[in-house]
């Protein structure tokens, strides 16, 4: 089901958790809300679920106004960061809960409920845990049970709040791929909140990058990584080299020395040059926009990571670049650096 969020404002005291947020989610999408803590992503998710209410704005699920209904009537599956499994119920009863509390008129008979719970436990591959209590499960298992429980009510949309946040790195990685394939299988419109860019880029069809209660960029993982719309997005997603520069017309200067690169339409004045580590081409001295002395080289896998002290900055500006291992770099070597791809954003404040 499609979700449409319009002009949502939510304040906690004087702090604006959400500041005029608009968002459209298409049917069947797997969308990531990505941002640092305090960016408002969880608040947005809770508002869509009906666990929080906006100060103003609208939420529509499948074209109908969701704000006129409470959380219990929205048929929205919600998976909590800390699972929120019912501790006094077995895994089976946890998953069956949503079916057992249905109004008598539409409640299924016991046999149907049992069959459905069994199916869901099969789906999350944990049918052998049906009679355990939540306290007897590992974090990853609890997370999957929480997901099965949310799916039991045949939700119109599925919302996941930091679904892998409390898990260790390895389990996290497995569950990520698992969530992806699960979504391919059941196709329910899903939104998950995360502060982990890798998770967002790897799992979602589309990524919504948020900061300070606003949406900074919406796009496919490729778009937000390759074409960041704002300085925040460039800095938040992927590792970037950031250099303070001055723009005058089409010329760019670093510490008063001209850089041999066009300004790409950036406004004149103080600005920041963003370059991905691997987008810095290394060449012989005297051939690129920047020059510097290599201070340290670490090689691992397909790349070598070099620390370069930029010339003209008295060795104060040290950047890290990733170069392919076609030519081994040496500490002490003087090299030139040429940004292959870069963005210039006006400096804020």
């Amino acid at each position: 089901m499609a979700i449409e969020v319009t002009n949502i404002v939510k304040k906690f005291g004087s702090f604006a958790a959400l500041d005029n947020v608009d968002l459209k989610v298409a049917d069947g999408e797997l969308l990531a809300l990505l941002g640092p803590s305090g960016s408002g992503k969880t608040t947005l998710l809770r508002i869509i679920a009906g666990l929080d209410w906006p100060d103003s704005g609208e939420v529509a699920i499948d074209g109908e106004n969701a704000l006129s209904r409470g959380a219990s009537e929205r048929q929205v599956g919600f998976v909590f960061q800390h699972y929120a499994l019912f501790r006094h119920m077995t895994v089976f009863e946890n998953v069956a809960f949503g079916l057992r509390v249905q109004p008598r008129a539409i409640r299924k008979d016991e046999a149907t409920i049992r069959a459905r719970v069994k199916n869901l436990l099969d789906l999350v591959q944990l049918d052998w845990l049906a009679n355990r209590y939540p306290s007897q499960l590992s974090g990853g298992q609890r997370q999957r049970i929480a997901l099965a429980r949310a799916l039991a009510i045949e939700p119109r949309i599925l919302l996941l709040d930091e679904p892998f946040g409390a898990l260790d790195a390895k389990v996290r990685k497995e569950l990520r791929q698992w969530l992806r394939s699960l979504h391919n299988e059941i196709h329910v419109t899903s939104i998950f909140v995360t502060h982990d860019q890798e998770e967002a880029l790897e799992v979602a069809n589309r990524v919504v990058v948020m900061d300070k209660g606003r949406i900074e960029q919406i796009g496919s993982p490729g778009e937000v990584y390759d074409n960041p719309a704002t300085a925040f997005v460039h800095g938040f997603i992927g590792e970037s080299i950031v250099l303070p520069v001055d723009v005058a017309g089409d010329a760019v200067q670093l510490d008063g020395r001209p850089l041999n690169i066009p300004a790409l339409g950036a406004a004149s004045g103080a600005a920041k040059l963003f370059v991905r580590r691997h987008d810095m081409a290394v060449g012989p001295a005297g051939t690129g926009a920047l020059e510097g002395a290599i201070r340290h080289v670490r090689s691992f896998g397909p790349i070598q990571r070099a620390e370069v002290a930029l010339a003209g900055t008295e060795g104060k500006t040290v950047i890290e670049i990733d170069a392919p291992r076609d030519r081994e770099l040496q500490a002490g070597e003087i090299v030139s650096l040429q940004p292959r791809r870069y963005r210039i954003f006006a400096a804020q404040g």
């Binding site: 219990s72 501790r87 949503g98 007897q136 009510i153």
Partner: protein
């Protein structure tokens, strides 16, 4: 976690460096650890006192408890049965005694029911919502603990007595609160109010609201959420509060004494009757009733221990 890693590392270092004869730069540190850890641990555990000191401390504790707790309890039962078992049961079968037992049970039932409902409501409000005046409410709940029970009773005399604020109105409408069951119930409710709320607040605060939110998002109504999720999660805490509330309700003397009026066979609860009988030199009867209260205390004690164990179990599992 990091401590464990650190320990593991130093053990490895021990094995590597210990046999070395020349003192390398890194060696002294692990060696020092050997010197410190093993002989000290072998000589004496710093948390254990020497034998005689331990014995004295334990003996003191036992002696104190025997004199101040066990001895009085023994005296109560010994006096109750001093004229034989027949006299004991005869004393309990007196109409006055039966009336007191009945009244005490009635008062306990009323105040436990009342505090059960309002204790849950107050604990719910405090632990699950944010509102102004919350700290004030918590302080207010504790008030009956800090006020002398006599004052608690006196408050109701001032409110409902013949010269009290509502006295004339009550008299005009022929409503009896003071020196009747309602007054005793009110005073008892007042002094026992904190028990249920106090037992629940920390428990409910620790459990948070996530399970309730999960239940609601799964389509449960407010009542379903309460009876299927909240109540099962707090049941041991609730029982614990009810138990203490009940024990105090049955045993309350001061507040009840002020509002009861001591009408024989009508407004005397068990603790009041114990005093009256004692003052009239009816020792067997007095101690017979007292023995019932003492037994209540013992049962409460056992039940409390069992419940505390269940409570610990209920709290521990969710550690992730």
């Amino acid at each position: 976690m990091s401590m464990q890693t650190g320990l593991a590392t130093s053990t490895t270092q021990l094995r590597t460096y210990a046999p070395a004869t020349d003192v390398s730069v890194a060696a002294p540190a692990p060696r020092l650890e050997i010197a410190r850890a093993e002989p000290v641990a072998a000589r004496r555990n710093p948390r254990t006192e020497p034998g005689p000191v331990r014995l004295i401390i334990i003996a003191l504790a036992i002696a104190f408890l025997s004199i101040f707790v066990v001895l009085p309890l023994v005296v109560v039962f010994a006096s109750a049965f001093s004229k034989g078992i027949v006299a004991y049961f005869a004393a309990l079968a007196e109409p006055e005694a039966l009336a007191a037992i009945k009244l005490t049970l009635l008062i306990a039932a009323i105040s436990v029911t009342f505090n059960l409902v309002f204790g849950v409501v107050a604990a719910w409000a405090i632990s699950k919502f944010e509102f102004t005046g919350k700290t004030f409410l918590i302080t207010l709940i504790d008030l009956p603990f800090s006020v002398s029970p006599v004052i608690s009773g006196l408050v109701f005399v001032l409110l409902f007595g013949a010269q009290g604020y509502f006295g004339p109105w009550l008299q005009a409408h022929n409503v009896h609160i003071l020196f009747a069951v309602p007054g005793i119930a009110l005073a008892t409710i007042f002094v026992t109010f904190p028990f249920v709320a106090r037992a629940l607040i920390p428990l409910m605060q620790e459990q948070g609201t996530q399970e309730e939110e999960a239940a609601i998002s799964l389509g449960a109504s407010g009542l379903q959420t309460f009876f299927r999720v909240t109540l099962p999660n707090i049941k041991w805490g609730l029982l614990y509060g009810v138990l203490l509330c009940n024990a105090r309700a049955m045993g309350e003397f001061g507040a009840v004494s002020v509002v009861s009026g001591h009408i024989r066979g009508e407004t005397n609860t068990m603790p009041l009757l114990v005093e009256i009988l004692y003052n009239e030199y009816q020792f067997v009867a007095s101690f017979a009733i007292a023995s019932l209260l003492a037994m209540l205390a013992l049962i409460t004690l056992v039940a409390k221990t069992v419940l505390e164990r269940r409570l610990d179990e209920a709290e521990v599992p969710d550690g992730d």
